[in-house]
Structures are given as C-alpha cells and as structure tokens.
C-alpha cells in the first residue's frame, strides 16, 4: 500500500520550499518532490532575492543563508547604440540590517532553503519527476512519479512545478501559455576578481549593485537586460517576451552576445570568464494570465500560477509569499479536515488581497501595452538619448536654441501629439 502524506509539494523552488517549510513547522507531514539532482539545480533567476518576504518565513535568514551581496544601488539605463541615460538610487541604509534585497546564486540558495525545510521535518526527495496528478472522483488525491512504484498519496497536493506547470495544465487549470505570456531569459555567470568588481561598480566589500537595461539591450524588443554583482561573479542576462523574439526572428543567445559586446556594457565585464550559461522561461502574463489556483485537493503557487511582476522584476518574493499563504490555507483546511475547492479557495482570496494580487492588478496591462506599441523601446528611448546629448553638448549654441532643436527632433505636430498620447497611455497602465 503506497504511503500517504498530509501534503505533497511538487517542486523545491522558492514557492514549494516556502510552503513545505511552513507546513512542516506546523507539524504537517509533508513530502517535497524535486526533479533536479538537488534543489536549485534546474532553475534560473537573474539573482535578486527580497529580504522582507524571505524574513516572513525565516527571520534574520541573512545571518546564515548563502547570499552574494546586499544591494545598495539600483541603476536603470535607457540605452541606445552608443549612449545611455542612466538614473540610479544608491542608499547605504540598504547595506545595513534589515537590508532591502540581495543578489543570490540560486543553486546555492535553494539548497540551503530546502535544508531548512528538512530541519523543520519536511521530507525532501530529489531526482523524482511528478508526471501527473492522481485524480479520484474529481479530487486530486496524490501524484504519479516517474519512478517504479511511483504513486504517492496525500490529502492535498501543492503544484510548485514552475512556469510550464504541466500538472496544472493536465488538470485543465490553464492552457498552453501564449508567446506573449512568457519571457525567455538567457544569462551567464561571469567570474571576475572581487576587487575588480568593487572598483568597477563603486562598491565597498559586502555591497552590491544592480543595473537594469532598457532599449538597445533587447534591440528594442519588450524586455530588459540586467547586470548584477555577486561576490566574485557577475550575472548578466537578457529577458524578452517570447513573442518579440519570434517577431524579430532573433535567437536568444545572439541577444545575450549583443548585450555582452555592447560598447556601453562591455567595459563592465571586460576580463571576466564565463563559468555558467543558463536559460529559462519566465511567466510574464501578469494579472490576466493567473490561472485557476485552487481545486479539490490541489493548490498552485509561484511561477506555476504566473506570479511575477515583470515591471519590477519581482518573482521569487511572490513565489515565497504564495507558498506561505498556501501553507496557511492548508493548515486551516487540515484543522477542519476539509480539502475541497471551496475551502482551499481561501488561498486565492488571500493571494489577491496580498501585495501579490494588488501589484499584479496595478500593472495588469503594462507589459501587454509595451508589447503592442513597440515605439516606446524602439523610438522613445533613442529620442531621449538624443535629447540628453543635445542638451549637454557644449558647442556654442544657446540653451534656447538647443531646446528648440530637441523640440524639432520630436517630429511634426502630429507626431508630438502621438508622443503625448503614448506618454499618457504609459502613465495609465503603470499608475
């Protein structure tokens, strides 16, 4: 007779592990399944981990977790071919407790986090793929794995199986994602001396910097490039909507090479040596793409539920919080011994009331807007660069003359109206 657990969590990423941790802590008998050789072996993240949501689960985790650098500066580059308008915020308060966020290498961090869940009493089984949910009488009662004697049962199954979530798809919770609902991120980890990193990015030891790059980093496709500082490596990557890559017939690795060789980026990474190459899909459909997240005996968390805020590059924090909220719901369901959809649907309500639902709602049309109207990335960023160049080049022209020139560069009256309208629309989808 196969063993029965209170709960099976499929996937030991931030969402699944957070859920398993909280459940085990509450004394729930939980099995955490991971398909990789170890947690963190299969996933990809640019590398920013937010302190608050992690601390909701493990207070003062930063005293022992394998983190790279606390981020004290966030730069945003609006980049053209040979120029960039950059703005940044650097605050040393972020370099002290309680910190704001950290760069991390997920292969290390996820292993540590999963060990913490195991310490709480969760049972972690790796190298095991859950191939489908076992459904009896319209209820999920367990999962079937790829191993011999691989069926395993539970009162409730949590699907934390990542962006494609084949298990939720089999249950009919969502269809195949459209190319404009997922981004493809490709990145490299580049080895570089600690002291060189600190010199180049103007950092003290144990300070980190992130740079988000818009415009030419993605050749005008909706998406961003990024460059993050780790202890003795840099994470560089580029993520664009799949639809954009298809439309422009650009291969993702070509885009990454383009960014790495871009004259505005090259100096940062000069002399470094690639040690790892990674690529992964990221769910960026936002609010409109959130699938059904609760059913009879089943919950969906993290990337599997499309919980990513593409505008603010937040994902792991939403994953962790969704895992925690799912655990709270399961603990309540267990007390009442009711794992029906109507009971578990409280998870969806909690999710929507939290910052996750609120933030995704705020930006519900944002990515879709920028994808529909490519002029923002293709035209307005270069325009902004030309204006800055014009204004700050000292060539004997009066500043009035310069302003007139910049104004003329915006185009005909009709084009100016269009620009104004586009700015209004952008404000509307972002506000």
């Amino acid at each position: 007779m196969p063993e029965k657990f209170d709960c099976i969590v499929v996937g030991a990423g931030p969402a699944g592990t957070a859920c398993a941790y909280e459940l085990a802590k509450a004394g729930v008998n939980v099995l955490l399944l991971e398909r990789g050789e170890y947690p963190g072996a299969k996933n990809v993240m640019g590398g920013v981990l937010y302190r608050k949501m992690m601390e909701d689960i493990i207070p003062e985790f930063y005293k022992e977790a394998p983190l790279e650098r606390p981020i004290v500066e966030q730069r945003f580059m609006m980049m053209d071919k040979e120029s960039a308008v950059t703005f940044s915020y650097k605050g040393l308060e972020w370099g002290r407790e309680p910190y704001n966020n950290f760069t991390v290498l997920r292969a290390k961090f996820d292993q540590w986090f999963a060990e913490k869940a195991v310490e709480q009493g969760a049972l972690l089984v790796c190298e095991t793929v859950a191939v489908e949910c076992i459904v009896e009488n319209g209820r999920v009662v367990g999962v079937r794995t790829d191993r011999p004697d691989g069926d395993i049962y539970a009162d409730v199954v949590v699907l934390a199986d990542g962006v494609n979530s084949l298990l939720a798809k089999q249950l009919g919770f969502h269809r195949e994602w459209r190319p404009d609902e997922v981004a493809l991120a490709t990145m490299e980890i580049l080895k570089l001396d600690k002291s060189i990193i600190e010199d180049r990015f103007n950092l003290e030891p144990n300070q980190g910097c992130t740079i988000e790059i818009f415009g030419d980093a993605t050749k005008g496709i909706v998406g961003t490039g990024f460059l993050y500082t780790n202890k003795d490596t840099l994470s560089i990557g580029v993520g664009t909507l799949l639809s954009g890559l298809i439309k422009h017939k650009i291969k993702p690795y070509e885009l990454l090479e383009y960014v790495k060789n871009h004259p505005m980026i090259r100096p940062y990474i000069q002399g470094s040596e690639p040690v790892e190459y990674l690529a992964h899909l990221i769910p960026e459909g936002g609010y409109h793409s959130i699938p059904k997240v609760a059913g009879n005996g089943v919950l969906v968390v993290g990337d599997a539920a499309q919980l990513v805020n593409a505008i603010h590059r937040e994902g792991s924090n939403m994953a962790m919080t969704s895992g925690r909220l799912a655990a709270e719901t399961i603990i309540m369901a267990k007390e009442q011994n009711d794992f029906s959809e109507s009971m578990l649907d409280q998870y969806r309500m909690k999710l929507m009331e939290s910052f996750i639902g609120q933030d995704l709602k705020k930006y519900k049309d944002a990515t879709h807007h920028f994808e529909r109207f490519p002029q923002y990335f293709e035209q307005y960023i270069p325009m902004m660069n030309r204006a800055a160049s014009q204004m700050f080049t000292v060539d004997g022209l009066s500043k009035w003359e310069k302003q007139k020139k910049i104004w003329r560069d915006l185009g005909s009256t009709k084009q100016k109206f269009k620009l104004a309208r586009d700015m209004m629309k952008a404000w509307k989808v972002m506000k």
Binding site: P2, E3, L31, L123, L124, V125, E127, T128, T145, R147, P148, D149, G150, D151, I152
Partner: protein, 270 residues
Amino acid sequence: MLHIVACIKQVPDTKIIKMNPKTNTMDRASAPAILNPYDAHAVEEAVRLKKEYGGIVSVLTMGPPPAVKAIKKCIELGADEGYMISDRAFAGADTLATSYALTKALEKIAKQRPIDLIICGKMTIDGDTGQVGPGIARRLNIPPLTGVNKVVEVNKEKGYAIVHRKLEDGYEVVKSQLPCLFTVEKDINDISFAPLPNMIKAARYQPTIWTADDLENVDRKQLGLKGSPTIVSKVWAPPKPEGGKILTGTKEEQVNELLSIVLQKKELFS
C-alpha cells in the same frame, strides 16, 4: 538469509574537479561529493543477490559527517542498513589505516549479524589504488576476489560462491569459500532506477554512526595519519599532450603526406 555488506566511499566527482595549479592537489570544494561510482555497482550487486537469494544488505563507510549522503544513496539503491565510522582519529588515513578501521567496524557489525559476503567497488575514483578491498580481506583472513564482473552463484548452505574475474584477455571462473570479499567492475550490472518507496525511506534514514571509541580492540596507533605509512613526496600533473599535426592540401596531397609520415615511423611495422 545472506548478510552482505557493501563497503562504500563518498568521493569528489573527479570528472569535473579542478586541480590547484600550484600544489597539484584536488580542489575539493570545486566538485560535488558523490557515491564512488564503482561502489554504486557493489551496492547494486548486493541488492540483486538479496533479491535472488533473500537476505539483508548493509553498507559501511568511513568519512566525515556529510558522507551520510552517500549512505542515503545506497538506501535508495535498496540497501537495508547503513553504518558509518566517523571520528577525527580516522582522519588522514591511507589505504592501510582505512582497511584497518573498516575491518574493526566489520567485526562489530558481524557480532550483531554474521557476515557472509563483503562487496567493494574495484577502486575509488579519487585514490585509484584498489587496495582497501583486498586489505580488508587480508585482515579478516577471507579470500579476496578482485575484478569480479559476474556473480554466477552464491550458496550459503554449502558455503561457496562462483564468480567471473575479469582478466586482460578474457575472464576466469573462480569458486571460493564463503565468507569472502569481492571487488567489482562497473560492467557487473546496470544501476537500476530506484523505486519511490526507497527514495522516501532514504530521505528519512539515519545510519548508525560509530566513533573510534565505539569500536572494540582498536589499536589507536593504526588509525588515521598515525597508522598511515604512505608518504606523498611529490605530486605533479602529467604533461599535456602536444597538439597533433594537421595536414592541408588536396585529398591526394594529404594522403601522400600521411603515408610518408607513417612509413618513416618504421617501428610501427617491426
């Protein structure tokens, strides 16, 4: 009921390990620790024999606390019990001291349940010596059968085992008394895909851990660095092979040039 003990070791994955260019020693942090591949085949064979003849499979290792992971891997493969000896006193052991410590642990295991058969991997991939298995057999005064690539029969009632030993030009069939010790080749079996209940059992499993004090009649002078006569006087990396010559030109030119080079190397035809 057979009692088979497989002796195993956790090793750095030497396929991907980096060498420290200054000291020519392994940078252990650069590679994950894995179950020595030959030992996986030893455990697999023990489990196969258990299925065929009935019995119990125990595994034994000596190592630092993280080596528990290697024992768990063996439980996944189907082993029933795991024993580990772990103590600072064992640190720095060469093959002589290692086989001594393992023998003492085997004696303790045998007191609880007599051992019929010990199976070791042919060698570890970090040391490549293949000495620990025979060392244990010698100390226990049982026959060592090295290079085993097939077990034909194990007969506990009549007290013998028949195996194939791999030789350079074939194999020999050997019949030995029980108990005895095998060291096995990789081609003895294929590692099977562990069933889920084994995975769950392994995730929960905590092996029996003994320190030097837990073992009986131990001569501490024979443990660890003190008991290791091996001296490493120098470590060096083998020279890198020189790049070969690449022939250019038309096909005919290349063939002609190749032939003239080959014909010059007369020793090839002697």
